[in-house]
Symmetry: D2
Subunit: 486 residues, 4 copies
Amino acid sequence: MALKNSRQYLESVKRLAPRVYVGGKWVSNLLDHPVTRSMVLANAAVYDLAQDESCQSVMVADSHLTGNPVNRNVHVCRSIRDLDMRQEMALLTSRTVGTCNYRCVGCDAINGLASTTWEMDLDLATDYNARFNRWLTGIQNGDLAVSGAITDAKGDRKKRPSQQDEPDVYVHVTEKLSDGIVVRGAKVSQSGAIGAHETLVLPGGGLREGEEDFALAFAVPNGSPGLTYICQYNAYSAEREMAEDESELGNPLFGQRETSTMVFDNVFIPWDRVFLCGETKYCGKLVTRFAKTHRMNCGGACKVGFADLIIGATLLAAEYNGVEKIPHIQDKLIEMVRLSETSHACAIAAAVKGREEPQGSGVFMPDDLFGNVAKLNIAHGFWEIMKLAGDIGGGLLVTMPRLKDLEDPEVGPLLRKYLQSAAPAADRLKAAKFLQHWTAGLHGPGTWHGAGAPQGQRVMIYHLTDFEAKKKLAKKLMSLRNLESM
Amino acid sequence: MALKNSRQYLESVKRLAPRVYVGGKWVSNLLDHPVTRSMVLANAAVYDLAQDESCQSVMVADSHLTGNPVNRNVHVCRSIRDLDMRQEMALLTSRTVGTCNYRCVGCDAINGLASTTWEMDLDLATDYNARFNRWLTGIQNGDLAVSGAITDAKGDRKKRPSQQDEPDVYVHVTEKLSDGIVVRGAKVSQSGAIGAHETLVLPGGGLREGEEDFALAFAVPNGSPGLTYICQYNAYSAEREMAEDESELGNPLFGQRETSTMVFDNVFIPWDRVFLCGETKYCGKLVTRFAKTHRMNCGGACKVGFADLIIGATLLAAEYNGVEKIPHIQDKLIEMVRLSETSHACAIAAAVKGREEPQGSGVFMPDDLFGNVAKLNIAHGFWEIMKLAGDIGGGLLVTMPRLKDLEDPEVGPLLRKYLQSAAPAADRLKAAKFLQHWTAGLHGPGTWHGAGAPQGQRVMIYHLTDFEAKKKLAKKLMSLRNLESM
Amino acid sequence: MALKNSRQYLESVKRLAPRVYVGGKWVSNLLDHPVTRSMVLANAAVYDLAQDESCQSVMVADSHLTGNPVNRNVHVCRSIRDLDMRQEMALLTSRTVGTCNYRCVGCDAINGLASTTWEMDLDLATDYNARFNRWLTGIQNGDLAVSGAITDAKGDRKKRPSQQDEPDVYVHVTEKLSDGIVVRGAKVSQSGAIGAHETLVLPGGGLREGEEDFALAFAVPNGSPGLTYICQYNAYSAEREMAEDESELGNPLFGQRETSTMVFDNVFIPWDRVFLCGETKYCGKLVTRFAKTHRMNCGGACKVGFADLIIGATLLAAEYNGVEKIPHIQDKLIEMVRLSETSHACAIAAAVKGREEPQGSGVFMPDDLFGNVAKLNIAHGFWEIMKLAGDIGGGLLVTMPRLKDLEDPEVGPLLRKYLQSAAPAADRLKAAKFLQHWTAGLHGPGTWHGAGAPQGQRVMIYHLTDFEAKKKLAKKLMSLRNLESM
Amino acid sequence: MALKNSRQYLESVKRLAPRVYVGGKWVSNLLDHPVTRSMVLANAAVYDLAQDESCQSVMVADSHLTGNPVNRNVHVCRSIRDLDMRQEMALLTSRTVGTCNYRCVGCDAINGLASTTWEMDLDLATDYNARFNRWLTGIQNGDLAVSGAITDAKGDRKKRPSQQDEPDVYVHVTEKLSDGIVVRGAKVSQSGAIGAHETLVLPGGGLREGEEDFALAFAVPNGSPGLTYICQYNAYSAEREMAEDESELGNPLFGQRETSTMVFDNVFIPWDRVFLCGETKYCGKLVTRFAKTHRMNCGGACKVGFADLIIGATLLAAEYNGVEKIPHIQDKLIEMVRLSETSHACAIAAAVKGREEPQGSGVFMPDDLFGNVAKLNIAHGFWEIMKLAGDIGGGLLVTMPRLKDLEDPEVGPLLRKYLQSAAPAADRLKAAKFLQHWTAGLHGPGTWHGAGAPQGQRVMIYHLTDFEAKKKLAKKLMSLRNLESM
């Protein structure tokens, strides 16, 4: 079977040559810099999941293009069951790597494009869908990692793309040539783009007439000329860079979610990689379809996997401290489960109440209302879970010494003596470090904004709800005079 | 087809002769007293739903006993789809009558017994299941209304059933005869028992060895000798009793959830109506199976129907006041939808992740964790929804005059003049009265305790969660040194 | 001392002859109708508090007009200590009667007018303050009950007072005569106006130029010609009306908060009772000063008294059921205390951080920000307290029979036998009835909207916060390069 | 006046020689290592506040020992006003340095000891109070920085101090000599101990008979022989250590709260520095008095200062992005203010409702219930504030590049071009970095556990509440039959 394993993926990464800048340095080999390396290793681990027999019902699907088994990360959902397995994949990958499945956004972008290019071809007699299917067949056959780029830099939020003082804050076409287009602009917060073989670029939102230059969807290979990745850099990057050994970090191999600002400086995209160009009317649809899929997955299910890890580590910490039987501790664990399973339930409901969209396309999309509700619930719930984990984990989570201090000849014995509890100090500190990573790091704002800030979901819920039907139900009941009037 | 309509049901109610006491009076005809009448009319309306073609996929199922179409309220779930339709029925009925589907508890009791009697017969070579199926066939063929009685009076909660000063606070066997058993005790908070043709009585919880007399499940026909129904009575009962005309009430025809305390004073139950007697070991299973089903339905889906009504009426009130476009009003409506749809999602997840239990029984039970989460979410969510409805509805909800004051020759014109808004005063007050019923009445504590108080769900979540698996996931990730160690 | 006791107040009420309509009936004697009677009795009980030596530091103050001791309900705050005692009075009265101190709004209106009339006289050389002081001297000397009327009927909320189709939905001047003015309109939700000797009428909000006719503050004696009180009427009114005996009700003597819609049909107000007439510019100030005072008292402190009653009854219910030692029960009681004391703390902070306003007036006003925060906290907190009380109280709160059923010769013994717990059934049901009144009645929306809906407080917080100062603090700290730059 | 300024304090720090270990390195000069330096600079800035005339009413008080003006950080509260200024100091210092006032715990320990040593001398005829006053006079005269050490390492939380496998996990006496005592053990999470001239060591909680060796309070000078400080070390430490220049950090000069584990390896303490030794009965009192003071300050007021900074920066970020006028943004700012001011109100109430304790001691303690409520509110509120700041700050908060990348010749221009908004990229990123420090760092668990984990406050609230009084109030009201029975 053509599915790549981690070794094969890592080999392929060595052949990539993106222009990557990380906190003051250009990185020539992604596996050399500890920060970019963590991102690549997470991808590798997700590749291996598809090799694990016990995971294959989730990780592997049959391509509707070739009939061959493909990694679900590059599969188009063709049934309710596909949707259900898609959200289960989100849960499985996040609980396995404790960070992004860096192919997740790309997967949801693939689904948004599968649906929307089909509709455009039908409506406009374009051949976007055929192009897209050719491109996707290649991706599936090569089992390539595809990331997705949605969020433009945006500039002044009060202004539309075409009104910005600096027009390049939105990705746009600068030239249309016979063999392709030239694009300029920047996409921010791009998870895992540096280690992906390709990136699918979508518009950042709905567009209006007159904004045709910004109406743009295309695939761009890693390291295309003109493309620069400026990576995020923060305390956790510094800690990883300074660490003598990954094992002293909270999530040793896979780290935090790593993103970059992708700068497109007149990047050439051949036409066979362009899947929307100028059709403003379809941008809203495309983005909505991407979003509803992504909110089910990244919003609903993925964070449940994180929560599983946090809940597990919190209980470990409780046991190490000797407090696991105390009622308020148990009550907090229950609350963490409630919050997490609520989100999972919403993701499941989004999947099973999904439907073909547009009809005839063969592409299945999750229920939009439940997807938005899933994301909204976990946005709040995840902060609550962090808070409760921090409660049980204790002050040590933020006042603990460096893990490797345990090995220092002078200080190590002191720590081992004084920080022992119902468990050796090393176990206790290891669990604390893991929880530090979750409760005192980037996950709060990250989870909140991933798959779109909650206000976006609220607006969607307003538009998706059939308020008229509810008014009618109420009106009928409040005015009943007898059974026959029902 | 044998499914009853409202008229046929009402006819049958006239033939019932329960011993019913309501707030100081014995009621001889359930349709004469305005309080008992509202309960019966709600049941009647639910009967009619099964006649409505657009509702039949939800309301009607094929009996596994006879193959005939039966009302889903007396159907045993035999598939995931049955479970899904069961929760959709809960939503449909509650949004239609704005109060209990009074056959709901009975339906879930039927499912609990279908599963548990099957298991007992397998394990113990009893013939409970055969008996039960015979009884159920009669119920289905007659399309009878069955209520369910679970909660004992309980006495001092610190003491087990057998330790109570007054043993009769738990329903129990006082005598076993050749042709049946004699039972004594009381079940409280029995929704719709007065208007049901039969009531299924289940134990109130798990039981231990030595508590055999309390291990008891049976069906009792309405009005059996020795059976007394003492109805709840409160401000809303008084208001209904005093009303000149139902139309001046918040939920005109169907009112509040009406319950009674059922007192069993040496009631004789023939053996063919006894479905568990002394098998303490199976009581916990039976109650858990009932509860998981009921939490999906009454906990998850039913309240979504109520929420639909509240949301609809709240928006009406906002429009009548002219405030429906204000951002904070819209945001509150969104929040109401979020809370309500979250609960629906959990009910759906409970249904679609359900399974046959026990294997071989053919009976499908919802996923227990999601069912408990559904109930827990709506318990809190419903108070929140009430609060938000009260916010938008305005102070008028609790300071409004009597609806019929609008008709008074002197006062009516004053009210019509001064309480007009963006709508006539009558519309505005009608909507306010409807919301008064929801936000200033019995629904807060009622929703909280229906299907069991939230602490019960929390305890269940603790027991249902696989914490060891989560610990293992966390431990693995925090200790990784390389990909191969995954 | 001239302070009235309850007997003297009740005597004076017998001499009142308001035009009062309650749920379909005109009431000629307030003490005859059970609903109006409950309101009057609550007022009477508050009168008696000022006779109770242990309460006099709270209930009695020295008049700045006469130097004599006066009931604090008609006192103008002249110091921080006055403010602190004012909020303590709110707590004391509400925990004593379990319903409104019906002189509370009037007291806060008196304070708003004392401050604003002083300022108008200073600015405009009017003599409103002198008039007001003359009027107030009479009130204090007679120890009269003064209610306050603020909220206009408002009509279509999208429109200003002068734009309404029906101009009478806001109280306004229709004629100015040499000896007084004529007013028309309606004030809604007037707590205790029917049993007050006088009502202070204030504008409902800020007004603009061109709205002079609505700029109006005056005192109107109970039962003035042209004045009609249309009382609220709801389930709790019906229950009280139907009760054979007040002792079967939740709050036997004092009941729910009782309000009325006051209709002014060309009511003549002599000039010496007019305290603002046409000065639109001062309406916002007047209302804000009233509101800040009322939010401290009604918002912050009053509900703490209610919470004390609810917490006490909830613990009683827990003890009667035998569950008071269970950790989650204790945790819920703690939460109720936290919510309640938070509100009290905010009221205290509002009082002790108060100040003279305007400077030179001698009138002390609470801190506005803390007052708004107090009200906002308890608006949410009270619903939470209701929820928790309902949790511990149990389903019985809404499914209990009528209290007097305990006395029925047939049904009584059954209830006494079956509903006994760790306490006799009568105690248990009494506590349940009391909690029913709090958790399944009017208090949710009532508390929310009393002293203004929370959105009003949110808007005030926005305007009261010095955001620029906070920006400056942040900016300074984020840009520091060395200590000297601080 | 003898109050030190920052320069004088920094001079004095150069003369300290503590044994300090930070993330793998021994630090010989606290001003050389960027992490320890940040702690020392924060202390220095707090010294300067007392030099600032506009702050002196808050920062300076008159010593009751010498009559001289002293820094309030080493002052004993002798009045309600002192308590109020004490909490205002907490607010002022935290909004100035954006991290701990590292003299805060010491100040509250001084107050706990002032009260408890006075009581011990009265009860036991010891001379602890005289000793303590001599020591404190020296501290005040030298304006020394005193930190406080409370929390023991604790080992297995299921076991009492004397039952631990490793007895040294609690600080205890190992030898009593004629001139002093020898102590061993470890105190964890010690804020600012490394840069304090002295540390006051208190027991970690109440103790029982038989635990005399752990009943111990004393002052220990910085760098005493046998004393080792093992500093916390985490991502933020690494980032500071790696930074080329402090200005690229979120809180440039003052950083995160820096703590250490203080290891006492047979440290000798002369008797005149020992303030409790063996009197187990007074440990609970001492700790409770410390705690109630600290919960008012660290719990209530300090976090309000942090919130001011966060709110200010959040509004800046909103303005830079051009979204500050959007209703939901404004609503979130309001919510942040509400949460923060609620906590401030509770601190104020704790102060103004404080009292002398014990009577005759002259020491004023805040109200315990309000102090606990303050801490509990902000524990939850601060997470909420972080969440809301993260919402408005945007994804950039966690995906932004390194600040100094703006200076890179190649990457800098790209960032300046693409990340400009309604403000230049540099301003926007500076604000984002500041918010990153608050929302994606140590402050969540830090705020939660500082001044004790919330469960401790809940337990205290349970013990501090007069539930019997509340039961009595409820019982009286529910049983009233007439006014005279009140």
